[in-house]
Symmetry: C2
Subunit: 322 residues, 2 copies
C-alpha cells in the first residue's frame, strides 16, 4: 500500500506492507490526515523515529469491532498504553510508562492508506462533524489540555504567545472561557483569522508589543512558540503567582530565567495530549472554526510536496487524503 | 553605630547613621542575625544592592509601638510593601509590585546595632523560643512556603535535592507531613544531621544516586541547589504529572529541558518568602531542630570573618550578635 515513510529520509512508498493487527487493534482506512509541527520535527530527527509518519487523522473502520461497525468514521488517541503501569491504573494512559505513540514513537502512523490502532483508543465521529473538522480533533484536544491542567477563571487575563496552527486552536478554546484573551501573532494569515474571530491580538512585529500587553500583567501565559524566546517573553508577561503553560516541544535546551520563576513564584505547567470527547463536542456544537485553518489538501501521492508546503513559514494546516 | 555595609565592597563600618524612621516603622535593636546564601549572592552583585546587608534577625523593640511594648522580642517579614497595589489588596504583600526588601533591595538590613522595619511586618517571639531559634524564623517560613504553594499528600514520595542551610530546613518541614522523604546530600555535616533526624538520604557522591532514588519516581522534587544541575536532576527524578519546586535563586541563566516539562506534563513552581506564624508555631512546639544547624556565632565587630566562614563549602548557619 501507499504511505509516507521516514527512516532518516522522507520517502513516498508504494510497497508498504499491510498493518499486522494485534487482537485489541482495529484496521482503519484513512479518510483525511493532518501534518503537525511534530511531524516536521520528526523529519529533523526528533525521537529518532523510523516508520510511517502521522498521528492526526479521521478514518473509517474496515471491519466490525464490538460496538463499532465497519464503516464507522473514527478519530483516535495517539498514546498506545500498556494498561498495567501505575499511570494506566490511575486512568492516565497518556502518561503510560510503557507507551508507544502513533507515528511518533515505535508505532506506525496514519500517513498511509491503512493503519491500525487499539479499539480502546477510538472515538466515533458524529454525523454532523465533517471529515475536514474531525481531522482537527487531536490538536484541538491538545489545546483543551490547557484548561484541564491549569484551571482558568473567566475574569483572568490570558496571553497566548504564538499564533501558528496550535496557537490558533488554543486561542479559540480559551476564548470560550470568557477570559480576557490576547494573542501575540506575527504572520498575516493568523492575524486575519484572529480578526475574523474577534480575538484581540498584538502584532509581534511592533517593537512595543510587550508594553502594549503590559509586563507582569497576565494571570496565564501559554507559550505556543516552541522556542526559547517564547519562554523568555512569557516570563516578561506573566504576573507574580501567575501560570505559564508550555504547549510545544523545544528544539534545543533553552536558557531559562529560573530565578525569575522563584522570585515571582510563577508556576510553569507542561501540557501535552488532551480530552478527545471535549474536542468532538466543541466541533459538534460549531464552537471552533477549523475550516478556515485549512491551508491545502494533497493526495498521499503528493505527500512530499505537502510536507514542503507545510514546512513553509506562516502556513496553516496541510491535509492529506488517500 | 556599627554595621556591615556593602557598596561593591563589604566593609565593617563604625560610623553608620542612625536609622531614620517613617511613621509606620519601629526602631529595633539587634539581638541575633543569620547569614543567608542570598547575602553571599548580594556581595557578588545580585540585585545591585548598596547598603546594610542582612534580613534574618531577632531583635527587640527600642520604643513602644501600639500593642508592642518596648523590649518585646520580635522577628519580621522582609518585604516592605506599598499597601495599595493589586497584590497588597489581595493580601499577598510578599509580591507587592512596589516593594523594597530588607537588606536585599533598596532598604537597609539588619547587620547593624539598630535598624527599622514597619510595625505591620513584626511578630512577637514567644518566651519559650530562644533567640538562637527565633533567628531561624525567616528561612523556616521560606521552607513552609513549599506546602503553601504545592500541596503535598502524606502518601507522596518527595525528594529534596541539596542539603545546605535551606535544604535542611525544607527537609525538616516536609518530614512533618508524613510523606516518603529522601534528601540528596553530599557534605559530611548535613549527612550527620539527617542521620540524627532519621531522615532518609542518598549520598550524591555515589555515582548511582539517581538510580537509588529511582528515575521518574517522585511526586514532588524540591531543588535547593541553586544551580542548573539541580534543576536537570529534578527533571530526572520527578514522575510524569509531578511537581518540581524551585527554592533558591540561580546565579546564571541555566539551560532547562522544557520539552521534558511538556512531554511529562510536569509542573514547576517557584517559591519564595513564607508564613511567619507557622514557622513560629513549629519552633514553639520544638518540631524543628535549628540549634544543631548553628555553625558559629560572631560579634558584629568580626562580621567580615563571619562572612568568610559562611562562604566556605558545607558550612551551616553563621550568626552575628551586636
Amino acid at each position: 500500500m501507499r504511505g509516507l515513510y521516514f527512516d532518516g529520509a522522507l520517502q513516498l512508498r508504494h510497497d508498504l506492507p499491510e498493518p499486522q493487527l494485534r487482537a485489541d487493534e482495529a484496521l482503519i482506512g484513512l479518510r483525511l490526515a493532518g501534518i503537525c509541527h511534530t511531524d516536521l520535527e520528526l523529519t529533523r530527527g526528533y525521537m529518532g523515529f523510523t516508520g510511517v509518519l502521522g498521528h492526526e487523522f479521521v478514518g473509517e473502520l474496515l471491519t466490525d469491532h464490538g460496538s463499532f461497525a465497519a464503516g464507522t468514521r473514527v478519530v483516535g488517541e495517539i498514546n498506545v498504553a500498556c494498561g498495567v503501569c501505575d499511570f494506566c491504573g490511575a486512568d492516565v494512559p497518556s502518561q503510560c510508562r510503557n507507551r508507544v505513540t502513533l507515528g511518533i514513537d515505535r508505532y506506525d502512523g496514519v500517513f498511509a492508506e491503512r493503519f491500525r490502532l487499539p479499539v480502546r483508543n477510538l472515538y466515533a465521529v458524529p454525523e454532523t462533524v465533517s471529515d475536514e473538522a474531525a481531522v482537527f480533533v487531536e490538536p484541538l484536544a491538545a489545546a483543551l489540555q490547557i484548561p484541564a491542567l491549569a484551571p482558568i477563571s473567566p475574569s483572568e487575563r490570558v496571553v497566548v504567545i504564538g499564533a501558528g496552527k496550535l496557537g490558533l486552536l488554543v486561542a479559540q478554546v480559551l476564548r470560550l472561557l470568557g477570559c480576557e484573551l490576547i494573542v501575540v501573532a506575527r504572520q498575516v494569515r493568523p492575524i486575519s483569522l484572529l480578526e475574523k474571530w474577534r480575538i484581540s491580538y498584538v502584532d509581534a512585529r511592533r517593537t512595543d508589543w510587550l508594553d502594549r500587553i503590559g509586563r507582569k500583567s497576565a494571570h496565564v501565559v501559554v507559550d505556543c512558540t516552541g522556542n526559547a524566546e517564547g519562554f523568555a517573553h512569557a516570563l516578561e508577561v506573566v504576573r507574580p503567582r501567575g501560570t505559564i503553560v508550555l504547549k510545544s516541544t523545544y528544539s534545543s535546551l533553552p536558557s531559562a530565567n529560573l530565578t525569575r520563576v522563584v522570585v515571582d513564584e510563577v508556576k510553569v505547567i507542561g501540557s501535552r495530549c488532551g480530552p478527545f470527547g471535549a474536542a468532538i463536542r466543541l466541533l459538534e456544537n460549531k464552537l471552533v472554526d477549523v475550516d478556515s485553518m485549512i491551508e491545502a489538501v494533497y493526495p498521499l501521492a503528493d505527500s512530499l510536496a505537502a510536507f514542503d508546503h507545510a514546512s513553509s513559514s506562516g502556513v496553516l494546516k496541510v491535509l492529506l487524503h488517500p
